[in-house]
Symmetry: C2
Subunit: 426 residues, 2 copies
């Protein structure tokens, strides 16, 4: 199918903007600007007064936790986990996981996210199917807590998931090997997971160095910091993404660089849970390109990546008293192309001929887009994701003029609210 | 006129929520919940699936600077002021000031703000008239820079504005005496302004302790910190609001408490300009109730108060590593009732019989409001101001179901973009 977006303001790969047409052939951008004369469009989208930007990549979330949005807030981390989150999660059924993920998918499309990395489970097969059906890219893994009895079964299930779903949905789905965190996974489990990752050629998704408490705990238990601990178990032999990375020193950054571990910055969650502020300007100065994530909706409390882009652009300026820390353009790259690279997505994250057609059109006919001195500044510092008007992923139209094309929003919201209330009263 | 909002989820004054009707008689809330049988509604608004919350109070902004939104970002503060903002501001005409303010009014209504404190000028008469016509509460003052030649004229104009507009628009407008900042106003000017404030019974609006550089400068020039310096000029004899208050010590807080000076926290602007992070949890612990503001749209870059509420709830948790710092409810109070109190607005900021009918209805039929475990958490941590559906100020409907009733949005946006482009090329 040939799709043409006409006269949009396009964010080019070099971060200049220009009014141009975008030709999409099947899943790929065929041309930007000079459209070949023999390109016959089957479908035309009017891009006037819209800003065409690569789809957002949410590189760390727990989609099904959307059912717990607003269930428990303004609490201490361990009270929140022990008294609220973990007891309820233990009661989640396949239906809860599926409906929670569908609610997340609705919110992601509405806010311009076209790819997401999910760590959750069980029943991730349902999440994979829901993601394929919705048309987003899902980079999924389980999140085994190594000291829990029966954890080997979860590891085995994660490997089965890889065998059954990696590359499925016409390449929309990839499966990673999940390991929850250094503080919840003892060395023997980490070594087993590391061995499996190498044996099956699976890349790794792990929480790392989220809190000061975690650093202290691992140092007390193993006499080293979390990055060294995980490196020593072999879990960084395969490429990995590491969510949070709030508390880092020179040695940690050296481990990250030696193994090409990509940090995923979660500013909203790190602030809300009082974990701290990741040294993102330092990472950028080291040549590391952090991705961005929302974390779960129970600690954020939404899946709005534009908010994370804005937070990434704002909080480091204030924290380091440097108005040039993380400029708008760098923050937007973290939310798009750096995220795509972090998740090993091939030719995703730029609007460029030959790249995948993951494109979001923001409607600029709103006061917060006026006047239009600088579109990237307007997007990052002023607009909200409620401007997201039309979303393409892999060339498929997921939303057009605010109408979802692949998800039954009203039904999903009704069921999600019902599931959530039943779940917390179970 | 009798107006009835039916079956809304109402945020009560004690911060409980319940489904209730709200009866509005002229400018005042007549009843919440049990509506008197003889209340005959002239107009009914369906409040089902909407969250009724007091209108936001933006306690520090520069409305007309909305014309400079996205004109200059990611710059050092003095480069930004000297090379970009001040040269352009010097060229602003009456039309620029008026159209800039109208664009701000459109954005404020759309994002649920019903009262704002503006420091700007010249031509504030036009801003007052535009505000009365739009139906918001405007608490206006000039921003004289004391060392500029002819500054006495600006002080005199501010006093004239007070005589001509204080209490106008059926009480919507009040006029304060503006003094720009300690660093830009020498003692003789501050003393003149202080004398005028007492003579005319005018309350004061000033920027205070925004940057470390300001603290250093004032200490070098006068051998004391900004709060002591301004206190000694007599400018705190009358009640005052002090924007920013980022860098405070015990002595500063003692001055604030001694004179009832209310700080206005501007988290977005303070982060973006890399001013720092105000010690808001400390202020709250001292029994001070800070208001919230957006600052101007050239340093924010929008006038979205819900974003400031969210930032106030998030950044202090991360900064102080305390998940209980500034809970959602406290942040929302800062954006509503504390702001109204700070601006000396009588019976504004609560949905309660006898209080002014400044009410915003948020449409909750959206994924970010699902599931509905806790409405205040959903508003503060998940929703965006794009949920604002209906806005009342002083009993008048300014927006209903997304349609502006008092402002010609399309025309204003067209003119604002034209004015802005002409201005920067002048």
């Amino acid at each position: 199918m040939n799709l043409l977006i006409t006269k949009a303001n396009v964010l080019r790969a070099d971060y200049s903007t220009e009014i141009a047409d975008i030709a999409v052939k099947d899943d790929v951008i065929a041309a930007v600007g000079d459209i070949p004369e023999d390109f016959a469009a089957d479908y035309i989208i009017d891009g006037r007064d819209h800003f065409a930007v690569p789809g957002m990549v949410n590189a760390h979330t727990h989609a099904s936790m959307t059912l717990l949005r607003s269930y428990a807030d303004d609490m201490k981390l361990m009270d929140w986990l022990n008294d609220k989150i973990w007891p309820v999660e233990a009661k989640m059924t396949e239906k809860d996981i599926r409906i929670g993920a569908q609610l997340a998918l609705v919110e992601m499309v509405r806010t311009g996210t076209t790819a997401y990395a999910d760590m959750y489970g069980p029943y991730l097969e349902s999440v994979a199917e829901a993601t394929i059906s919705a048309g987003l890219r899902g980079i999924l893994c389980r999140g085994p807590i190594g000291f829990m009895p029966g954890v080997e079964k979860i590891l085995a299930a994660n490997i089965d998931l890889f065998k059954n779903y990696h590359g499925s949905g016409d390449g929309l789905i990839s499966i990673l090997l999940g390991v929850h965190a250094p503080g919840t996974c003892p060395p023997d489990f980490c070594r087993k997971a590391a061995k499996a990752s190498v044996e099956h050629g699976m890349n790794v998704h792990i929480h790392m160095s989220e809190t000061q408490g975690e650093i202290r705990q691992i140092q007390e238990q193993y006499g080293k910091r979390p990055f060294k601990y995980i490196e020593d178990t072999g879990l960084f032999v395969r490429p990995a993404i590491a969510a949070h990375c709030v508390w880092l020193n020179d040695e940690d950054i050296a481990v990250m660089k030696a193994h090409g571990v990509t940090p995923v910055h979660n500013p909203g969650s790190n602030l809300k849970l009082a974990s701290g502020i990741s040294p993102v300007p330092r990472l950028l100065a080291e040549g590391i390109q952090p991705a961005l994530g929302t974390d779960g909706a129970s600690s954020n409390n939404n899946l709005d990546m534009l908010e994370e882009v804005r937070l990434a652009a704002l909080i480091h300026k204030g924290n380091e008293l440097d108005p040039l820390a993380v400029p708008a353009r760098e923050a937007l790259k973290m939310g798009t192309e750096y995220g795509a690279k972090a998740l090993w997505l091939d030719r995703v994250g730029k609007i460029e001929a030959g790249w995948k057609a993951d494109i979001v059109l923001y409607d600029m006919r709103r006061p917060e887009w006026c006047p239009r001195h600088d579109l990237v500044s307007l997007l990052v510092y002023s607009a909200s994701s409620s401007s997201v008007d039309t979303v393409l992923c892999n060339g498929r139209v997921l939303m057009e003029k605010g109408e979802l094309k692949t998800l039954d929003e009203e039904k999903i919201m009704y069921e999600a609210n019902k599931c959530a209330m039943e779940l917390i009263n179970r």
